[in-house]
């Protein structure tokens, strides 16, 4: 009957899937394990095979109403219950509610003797009985390979295993079979030969003394699946696989802008700060003020009433609060108000996976608007480069998907390798602000510039970045022929400039006064000349008048003398006497 049901479920083209409910695994496998078929989960010791299988079963029973049978060859029911309890699964309760049957199969190789032919019908009977007793849809066999140690006749065992997988398919149950990783093959005893529908490989690697688990879907017959290796975590809520590729680039974006807490920086970012939900990278060499900029951003956000989650991998919360207090940032009240939460952990405390898990968990519970990770580089140091990048990608994806603005600080070791080493990470970031040291004149000065800011007009200028007990101040750096000048050099340069300006001004004033003086002199000259001229012309007029008067007087005198002399020339009186000066008429 079950067989019939599973057949009817399978549509013509799509392979029916059985969701595992395991975070991330269903995304990689595009829906889950192949329904009604066995899946092989193989891996070395301690990589989480049993937990994965158990979670598949428990989630099936709890979330998908698919009861399951766990046939355990290695651990007793009691041990299993205790083991999965650490993941928050109450196996005993599920067993009581007849959602799960646990059958511990144990054969002590030394106690068993073989004599003659046999088969494993007893296993089939037990499994069949368990399946039928609760109507199980899922079966886990953990770990079948134990049988190879218990039953010496491998030929019988192999033929029986082949029959078992056939039988499981006919039963229509979705089965997970765990197996120990072999040296050259996927499994030590070549179980992949029988289970060919889906093979998942688990791996536990140690890098620089820190272990990270990985999961890879090696094979998934008839379905697309992510072939990459994905880190996975065993956290308090079970396994979570963290796929990079499953989260596609389709976040909703916000046009809202949020202030950075530094007015001048806002101005540099098109006047309004970062986009909400964007990811910001803040790189700098040691002591350039990354944490301070972050804390400013945190304070600004918290003061707007947003929740801020501050992951610190270098300093304890108390230390950050104290240090920020020295520059006038008062974070403590914000912490008390529950707007700002710190989470501090040493990067080497545990592997990358655990860090990610705890961070995801913190983010999920606190639901912050802004997340600050200070610094991301020390976290990346706990894995390999690619792991670190993968982790940051997942983190960014996760934050973006939930519209959380994220600020990552990144510690760079000096000068020129800076941009190179950050190149991988920077491509994931929307904004990149660089803090840098300038050394000269026996001092170090901080500068800040916006290397990139997607989607906004931003300043291309280097600004000097001053930290005082009143906080951060961003001022224009002096940029001249000799390069960028900061600190006392900038001050010296600007006073030099001031002096030059002053000198220029003074010179101009002097010139002006000179001109004034000249003009005044000219004016004076002009007025002197004018008075000369006036006095002369007055003289002239006086003389002319004198001449006229004397002439008239002369004429009058002549006329009078003429009269006296009885002259005939009445007519010759006055000017008419002129013709006498020449003989024009003749």
């Amino acid at each position: 009957m079950k067989k019939h049901r599973s057949k009817s479920k399978s549509s013509a083209n799509a392979l029916p899937k059985c969701p595992t409910g395991i975070q991330g695994l269903d995304e990689i496998t595009a829906g889950g394990l192949p329904r009604g078929r066995p899946t092989l989960v193989c891996g070395g010791a301690g990589c989480g095979k049993t937990l994965l299988a158990a979670e598949f079963l428990v989630r099936g029973a709890v979330q998908f109403d698919e009861p399951g049978v766990l046939m355990a060859f290695e651990e007793t029911e009691k041990e299993l219950t205790a083991n999965v309890a650490s993941l928050g699964f109450d196996l005993a309760n599920l067993v009581r509610r007849k959602k799960i049957v646990v059958d511990y199969v144990h054969i002590e190789g030394a106690e068993v003797r073989e004599s003659g032919d046999y088969d494993l019908e007893g296993l089939f009977v037990r499994l069949g009985h368990a399946i039928d007793s609760i109507g199980a849809k899922r079966v886990v066999l953990d770990t079948l390979e134990v049988l190879f140690a218990s039953l010496p006749n491998e030929a019988i065992l192999r033929s029986e295993l082949r029959r078992l997988f056939r039988w499981l398919k006919d039963k229509g149950v979705t089965a997970v079979i765990t197996a120990e990783r072999g040296r050259e093959s996927f499994t030590r005893h070549g179980l992949e030969e029988y289970v060919s529908d889906c093979v998942i490989l688990l791996d536990h690697r140690v890098n620089d003394q820190i272990a990270t688990r990985h999961l890879r879907v090696v094979k998934y017959r008839g379905a697309l699946h992510g072939t990459n290796e994905f880190p996975f975590l065993i956290g308090e809520e079970g396994i979570s696989v963290l796929p990079i590729t499953s989260l596609s680039l389709n976040h909703t974006v916000s046009n809202e802008r949020i202030a950075t807490g530094i007015a001048r920086l806002d101005a540099m970012l098109g006047g309004r700060g970062f986009f909400r939900g964007s990811s910001i990278l803040l790189t700098g060499t040691p002591g350039t003020g990354k944490t301070i900029v972050s804390a400013n951003f945190a304070q600004a956000a918290a003061r707007r009433g947003e929740r801020v989650l501050f992951f610190s991998f270098e300093e304890s919360p108390a230390q950050i609060i104290r240090n920020m207090h020295s520059i006038g940032l008062r974070l403590e009240p914000l912490v008390r108000q529950g707007l700002l939460r710190f989470h501090s952990a040493r990067p080497s405390l545990y592997g990358l996976e655990m860090h990610l898990a705890t961070m995801f968990k913190e983010i999920a519970t606190f639901k912050p608007h802004v997340v600050i990770i200070d610094p991301i580089t020390s976290l990346m140091g706990s894995g390999t480069d690619s792991e670190g990048k993968g982790m940051v990608t997942r983190l960014i994806d996760f934050l973006k998907a939930s519209q959380v603005t994220s600020l990552f600080t990144s510690l760079t070791q000096g000068g020129h390798a800076l941009q190179q080493s950050e190149a991988a990470m920077s491509s994931l970031m929307d904004s990149w602000i660089l803090l840098q040291d300038f050394e000269g004149n026996g001092e170090r000065n901080r500068v800040l510039y916006v290397l990139k800011a997607r989607g906004m007009a931003h300043s291309n200028q280097i600004r000097e970045f001053l930290i005082s007990d009143r906080g951060i101040d961003v001022v224009d750096a002096y940029i001249g022929a000799s390069g960028v000048l900061t600190g006392s050099a900038r001050v010296a340069q600007s006073s030099l400039e001031k002096a030059a300006v002053l000198a220029g001004q003074q010179e101009a004033d002097r010139l002006k006064r000179e001109v004034e003086r000249k003009r005044a002199a000219i004016d004076r000259q002009i007025s002197g000349l004018r008075s000369d001229y006036e006095s002369e012309s007055a003289e002239l007029r006086r003389i002319a008048d004198q001449v006229g008067t004397s002439t008239r007087m002369l004429t009058t005198e002549r006329a009078a003398s003429g009269i006296l002399r009885q002259a005939d020339a009445k007519v010759a009186a006055g000017p008419r006497s002129k013709p006498r000066n020449g003989n024009h008429h003749s």
């Binding site: 068993v112 003797r113 073989e114 004599s115 003659g116 032919d117 046999y118 039953l151």
Partner: protein, 110 residues
């Protein structure tokens, strides 16, 4: 596993008063050829080596599947010696008498 509460088929019961009685369980499924052979071999063996101090209980797992868990039965046929202690298990059709003797501690392993 209290098998006496079920309906085991008692095949032979010959108990002289003094000697320790062997309690043997034979797990089979249906009346397959292997099961039949195992039962025949077991009876023969007991008659030869444990005359009158054995008891065989045949358990058909098809009828009583829940009984498989108690004695950790995987292989069919399986003989379990419940008494005398310790418990001994032999799987197979019991065709190799020498191995059965060793398996049931009737003869030390060569």
């Amino acid at each position: 596993m209290k098998s006496k509460t079920t309906k085991p088929r008692v095949v032979a019961r010959k108990r002289p008063p003094a000697a320790p009685v062997w309690q043997l369980r034979l797990y089979v499924t249906d009346s397959t050829a292997k099961s039949q052979l195992a039962l025949a071999n077991l009876k023969l063996f007991c008659e030869n080596h444990l005359k009158a101090r054995y008891r065989i209980t045949v358990i058909d797992l098809v009828k009583h599947p829940h009984l498989a868990r108690g004695d950790q039965i995987l292989a069919i046929p399986t003989v379990v010696r419940r008494l005398p202690r310790p418990v001994r298990t032999i799987i197979g059709t019991l065709s190799d008498t020498a191995r059965v003797l060793v398996g049931l501690d009737l003869r030390p392993a060569a």
